[in-house]
């Protein structure tokens, strides 16, 4: 990244020279990043962090798929032998459980959230609303640097005792007691995971407050709320979700921590507590959390579809209200994760109905993306491929979600691979596709370099084919009754597991190609123009150089008078 920093550095001086008389001394070298208060540098740090987190999480998942490729337990005894010298079947089972637990924690807290909110949010929210930086630049620095600390705690937890005689926490990312309390996990591994999630939560809460203040207060004159780009709206909605839901997780985890260490009994029946209470509190956070993981992706995809169809987004206001509706509904459907815990029929009816209602605003969004493309002048550049891929896989994930919303069906499919397929279609495919879409969309802007378009398209096709091969057959496995979170299975499930594992290896090759594309772009240093995407790219970031100056919009930029969102396609062209 040294070459990038030198470049942006020079750019910064070249562009700000006339505005920036007093302060030339922004930090350089490692100080620039460690002490950074610049939203773009912090965004870059977040993205690098997310790439590292994603790679670690992906290695874990590929090892999981290697184990599940054939019936029997072959891979994890070897891994366990290498990692802690045990190698027994019990240690292998524990290691497998620990791997899927860590895979989830890492992918959620150290890949998707840092990439979407921390990375793209930090980079483009201030620019898109015409602000010079985030509202609290120092807090922004704190938000980022809490994450590596949190990540370290998560990694440490993998190497200390969890369940008796076993390494690492193996109880799933949901941390349900009694397995996550001292009954199931007497060792400190669970404490490390709890503290890790605490710190990651604190980081996100600070980030959320920062985004809310930035978006509500620091818009350039003329940038009214309903003229903000949809990505900014998506970050605002997500920030409110974070602000309201993460403290609930913090509370639940604190109760669990004091149950484990200080003899409280919030979730311990011996003292009048109830583990079901934990599930309620956890999912009150957990369900909004899945929208936290996807709503920024909605925003990214909206920008990209509009840019590459060369049309303003269809139904802008509807898109905003759909996001708000999804966010609100997200808080009142949590017990659909708990259909099997024994609810009355009326409670089940309510949660089925409320959950299904979410399909309506989601449908509005899918419809509006398609309507935006309809009749547009579509160019299938790499970001657009990823965005269309997102719409496809997210729709599949959404449809299986409506299936699972039925309490009666859920009783059969609960904790099977059908659920695994469902949430990976929304997360592993949906969220990840939107992240790659955003990455290829904004990479020229962020780095100032062009990437190899053909290779980016091959990356898309490898990932699209690979990851669909991974997860589509898991619907069949789930219907056939294969339970999730178990290291082994009967021969009856071997065919689709084999296919699924092949898909994982293909997607893994796609990720290697992604790393090569990055290397290639930074090596060749092909300069990107300010706007590589043409007249469809109308948001403010495309009015700046690539990469943007170190400080931008110290004087608020002029915002065009007419409302682009209501204008016909032809009128919107030319704002760039």
């Amino acid at each position: 990244m040294a070459s990038v920093s030198e470049f942006t550095h020079a750019e910064a001086h070249a562009h700000d020279g006339h505005e920036d008389h007093g302060d030339h001394g922004h930090p350089t070298g490692w100080r620039r990043y460690l002490l950074s208060t610049n939203h773009k540098d912090i965004g870059t740090l977040y993205l690098i962090f997310a790439i590292i987190g994603g790679l670690v999480g992906m290695v874990l998942s590929i090892l999981i798929r290697a184990e599940l490729m054939t019936p029997g337990i072959q891979v994890f005894p070897v891994l366990s032998g290498i990692l802690d010298g045990d190698g027994s079947v019990d240690a292998a089972k524990n290691l497998y459980n620990m791997f899927f637990t860590s895979h989830a924690v890492i992918m959620i807290f150290f890949m998707v959230m840092p990439a979407m909110m921390g990375g793209f949010g930090n980079w483009f929210v201030p620019i898109m609303i015409g602000a010079p930086d985030m509202a609290f630049p120092r807090m922004n620095n704190l938000s980022f640097w809490l994450l590596p600390a949190s990540f370290m705690l998560a990694i440490i937890s993998m190497f200390v005792e969890g369940a008796a005689g076993m390494k690492g926490f193996a109880g799933g990312w949901v941390l349900y007691p009694p397995f996550a309390s001292t009954v199931g996990t007497p060792g400190p591994a669970a404490d490390f995971v709890i503290l890790s999630m605490h710190i990651a939560g604190a980081s996100s809460i600070l980030g959320a407050i920062n985004f809310i203040a930035t978006i509500l207060n620091m818009r350039a004159p003329g940038m009214t709320m309903f003229r903000m780009p949809l990505f900014v709206w998506s970050v605002l909605v997500t920030a409110f979700l974070l602000l309201l839901s993460l403290p609930v997780l913090a509370g639940a985890l604190t109760m669990l921590l004091t149950d484990r260490n200080f003899h409280t009994t919030f979730f311990d029946p011996a003292g009048g507590g109830d583990p079901i209470l934990y599930q309620h509190i956890f999912w009150f956070f957990g369900h909004p959390e899945v929208y936290i993981l996807i709503i920024p992706g909605f925003g990214i995809v909206s920008q990209i579809v509009s840019t590459f169809a060369r049309k303003p987004i269809f139904g802008y206001a509807g898109m905003v209200y759909a996001m708000l509706a999804i966010a609100l509904l997200g808080f009142v459907v949590w017990a659909h994760h708990m259909f099997t815990t024994g609810m009355s029929l009326n409670a089940q009816r309510y949660y089925v109905l409320a959950t299904m209602v979410i399909a309506v605003p989601t449908g509005v969004k899918i419809f509006s993306w398609i309507a935006t493309m309809w009749g547009g002048s579509i160019s299938l550049r790499a970001p657009m491929l990823w965005a269309i891929g997102f719409i496809f896989v997210f729709t599949v994930g959404g449809v299986t979600g409506v299936v699972l919303a039925n309490a009666a069906v859920d009783r059969y499919l609960h904790d099977t691979y059908y659920v695994v397929a469902h949430f990976h279609y929304t997360m592993s495919l949906g969220a990840v596709f939107s992240i790659f879409a955003g990455f290829y969309y904004w990479f020229p802007k962020m780095s100032g370099y062009l990437y190899n378009e053909a290779k980016a398209k091959i990356h898309f096709w490898l990932t699209f084919v690979g990851i669909n091969l991974v997860f589509f057959p898991q619907h069949f496995l789930g219907f056939a009754g294969m339970p999730r979170r178990i290291v082994d299975y009967t021969n009856a499930y071997s065919l689709w597991n084999f296919v699924s594992s092949i898909g994982a290896f293909i997607a893994g090759i796609g990720t290697l190609l992604f790393l090569y594309i990055l290397y290639d772009a930074f090596k060749l240093k092909r300069q990107a123009p300010a706007n590589p995407w043409g007249p469809g790219a109308t948001t403010l970031e495309w009015t700046l150089s690539s990469p943007p100056p170190f400080h931008q919009f110290l004087t608020p930029p002029p915002i065009p008078e007419e409302d682009e969102h209501d204008a016909p396609a032809a009128a919107a062209v030319g704002h760039a």
């Binding site: 609290f136 203040a213 004159p221 403290p247 109760m255 919030f266 009048g272």
Partner: protein, 204 residues
């Protein structure tokens, strides 16, 4: 950015002050949500007691109705001792068949196998969880902690009835057997002296 405040345009300088208010507001929301999360714990207990949620039997002073139901349900009994409590604990009968509205008395036997006096904390619930609302206990050893002298044997009565209203509950339409389950935990010394209210949780 503090040093750069002067560099900012008046628009941005004004917003910097409002940012602080926003930040304080956000922090207040966070504190409020954490407080609500903690408030959820006592609320959950109260909710379970009031509604029978999570298989919480109702506690009543006496039979509230003379009505009798038409169905007969099987009520099974399950007695467990948590690890760390050297007691023997069992139900005298495996199961009884009950007509809703009829008051039933059953007995549980407990014996302290140790050479010291021990206090146990009984927890209880019914399965399926939806039957908690209709399972009314008039008398139960589980309402308080129980102390047994070394090798003392006791018989504890449990007096209960099923509320005939259960026949109007759709959730109970396919329930024809209910299990009342107890688990005895060793009560820590501090908990033994705690007030009854804190002892009497949703499941115990």
């Amino acid at each position: 950015m503090t040093t750069s405040l002067e560099r900012l345009s008046p628009v941005h300088r004004k917003s910097a002050l409002r940012n602080k208010l926003m930040g304080a507001g956000g922090a207040a929301v966070v504190v409020g949500m954490i407080a609500l999360t903690y408030a959820a714990a006592p609320f959950f207990i109260a909710f379970c007691r009031a509604t029978g949620y999570a298989g919480t039997p109702q506690r009543v002073e006496a039979a509230t109705t003379d009505a009798e139901g038409g169905r007969i349900l099987r009520v099974a009994f399950d007695a467990n001792v948590a690890p760390g409590l050297p007691w023997k604990f069992e139900a005298e009968t495996d199961a009884v068949h009950v007509r809703p509205g009829k008051t039933v008395t059953v007995f549980f036997r407990a014996e302290n196998l140790a050479d010291r006096e021990i206090t146990a904390h009984p927890t209880f619930n019914v399965t399926p969880a939806v039957s908690g609302a209709w399972f009314d206990k008039i008398q139960c050893f589980c309402f308080t902690n129980e102390t047994l002298k070394p090798h003392e044997k006791v018989e504890w009565p449990v007096v209960f009835f099923l509320n005939p209203e259960l026949e109007k509950d759709e959730s109970m339409a396919h329930v024809d057997a209910i299990t009342l389950s107890y688990t005895l935990f060793a009560a820590p010394p501090t908990r033994a002296s705690a007030s009854e209210a804190t002892r009497d949780g949703p499941a115990g």
